[in-house]
């Protein structure tokens, strides 16, 4: 499993476009929003939690189809299916690789963008924590969506349509954590729920995704 992880990481960093794309998109979004909404500091500060979370979410979406599509095209997915490694494990590892390459960098980059969006000072640690806890869900749910659509030629848009509604609970709780953190309110509940969803997704979605992959590899 470690070998698979290292291989995926190496591929992601090597092929260039895969790695920086999500981060660049995140940055562009943080520039576009004030341009669209107006530069007034108070307004920006109020919507910053939501913008940052939606931005991270959309940026994650960009690289989702790469999780399985490349391997499917060159046949390595079939090899994985017949290898002694269980499909569920392979899916989990691939989701982890996606997170390490996309979710984690986004999380680390977010505070910088928070400055652009006039995020309240108290919110910064909560921004990082919520993204840290929530982006794994985005990768895991994304891997599930990617598994469903791996066989399709133009699956990207459909992938987004399938995955975005599944992102809603994570988005709501994640943004809520940051918002409450900004105002110093109690945020144990959304934080706990955010973490619970991540754990649940990591535990259960590999099975659903593996089932979908097996169907697509038939």
């Amino acid at each position: 499993m470690r070998a698979l992880l290292l291989r995926d990481l190496r591929l992601a960093f090597r092929s260039g476009g895969g790695f920086g794309l999500g981060l660049a998109f995140f940055l562009i979004l943080a520039v576009l929003v004030p341009l669209g909404v107006g530069a007034e500091g108070t307004i920006l500060g109020r919507i910053a939690p939501g913008i940052l979370w939606v931005g991270a979410l959309l940026a994650c979406l960009l690289s989702l189809d790469r999780i399985f599509a490349l391997d499917h095209e060159d046949g390595s997915l079939d090899l994985l299916a017949t290898s002694p490694l269980p499909m569920e494990g392979a899916v989990a590892v691939k989701a982890l690789a996606h997170w390490l390459v996309t979710g984690l960098p986004l999380t680390l980059m977010a505070p910088g963008l928070g400055v652009l969006l006039n995020l309240a000072p108290a919110a910064y640690p909560w921004l990082v924590l919520s993204l840290l806890l929530g982006t794994p869900t985005l990768s895991m749910v994304g891997a599930f969506g990617a598994a469903l659509t791996v066989g399709l030629r133009r699956g990207g848009l459909l992938l987004s349509l399938l995955v975005l509604p599944l992102y809603v609970p994570t988005l709501i709780f994640g943004a809520e954590v940051v918002r409450r953190g900004a105002e110093g309110m109690a945020l144990a509940t959304p934080l706990a729920l955010l973490a619970a969803i991540s754990l649940g997704a990591a535990a259960l979605l590999p099975f659903a995704a593996a089932a979908a992959l097996r169907v697509n590899l038939r």
């Binding site: 399709l152 349509l161 399938l162 509604p165 809603v168 979908a212």
Partner: protein, 242 residues
């Protein structure tokens, strides 16, 4: 190879053929009776005025929007466990019907809220949940359309329905949590407790029955279409090979 690929669809077609006229008839009767009764022969609510008449559309459609998804979930499970083809096709057939009911619930809900909230749309938890449900329906229907192989489509959409159901429940809770502080008490409270009065409750029951029957009728019709469509596909494939 027998004429119909599978024995079950044949039985379904036969049974639904005689059941359909009855279903249509009962649907029309219930809907007409319920809606006419509710619209013309009930008084206004002292709080909500004549907008209470929207209840005869909003409550049944909202109930069926959810029930349609539950039926799809059950049908998907039956497909996964027992590979009953009619079940998979019934789930596919039910989706557009459920989507229509969801849209009706959304529109009537928004219109009902307009006089109360002064805006054509409000992010009330219930309305928001139905908006998200619409997205789930769209995704499910889109996945069916995107996949050529019928069995693969049935498998993948079933898995989507299962996972989607879990997240739909999560979303419902999350949306309630999200909007807790804002519209307290102002959300459309459609609990039965509010409608203790038989004056509203009885025609509502008839309307609910009408919508349930409408759902059944449409699913019967659409499943027949799906079965015929699959047979058509199989025959065309055979022609191409021959």
């Amino acid at each position: 190879m027998s004429i119909w690929e599978y024995a079950n669809p044949k039985k379904f077609m036969a049974t639904s053929a005689w059941a359909l006229p009855w279903a249509v008839g009962l649907t029309v009767v219930c809907l007409v009776v319920g809606l006419v009764w509710g619209f013309f022969f009930t008084p206004d609510d002292y709080k909500q005025g004549s907008t209470v008449k929207i209840i005869y559309l909003h409550v049944p459609s909202a109930m069926m929007a959810i029930n349609a998804w539950v039926m799809m979930l059950v049908a998907s499970l039956i497909w996964i466990i027992r590979r009953h083809h009619v079940s998979a096709l019934a789930a596919k057939a039910a989706a557009p019907v459920g989507l229509t009911f969801t849209l009706i619930a959304l529109v009537t809900g928004a219109l009902w809220g307009q006089p109360m909230w002064g805006t054509w749309w409000a992010w009330d938890p219930r309305l928001t949940s139905f908006l998200i449900l619409t997205l789930f329906y769209f995704g499910y229907i889109a996945l069916w359309s995107a996949i050529e192989n019928p069995d693969t489509a049935a498998d993948l959409t079933s898995i989507l329905c299962l996972v989607g159901s879990v997240f739909a429940l999560l979303s419902r809770y999350a949306v309630n949590f999200w909007n807790q502080g804002l519209h307290q008490g102002a959300s459309l409270s459609l609990d039965k407790q509010e409608n203790v009065s038989d004056v509203f409750w009885l025609p509502l029951l008839v309307c609910i029955a009408g919508f349930v029957l409408l759902f059944l009728t449409m699913v019967l019709m659409r499943t027949r279409i799906e079965i015929r469509s699959r047979r058509l596909q199989a025959l065309l494939a055979r022609e191409r090979v021959a």
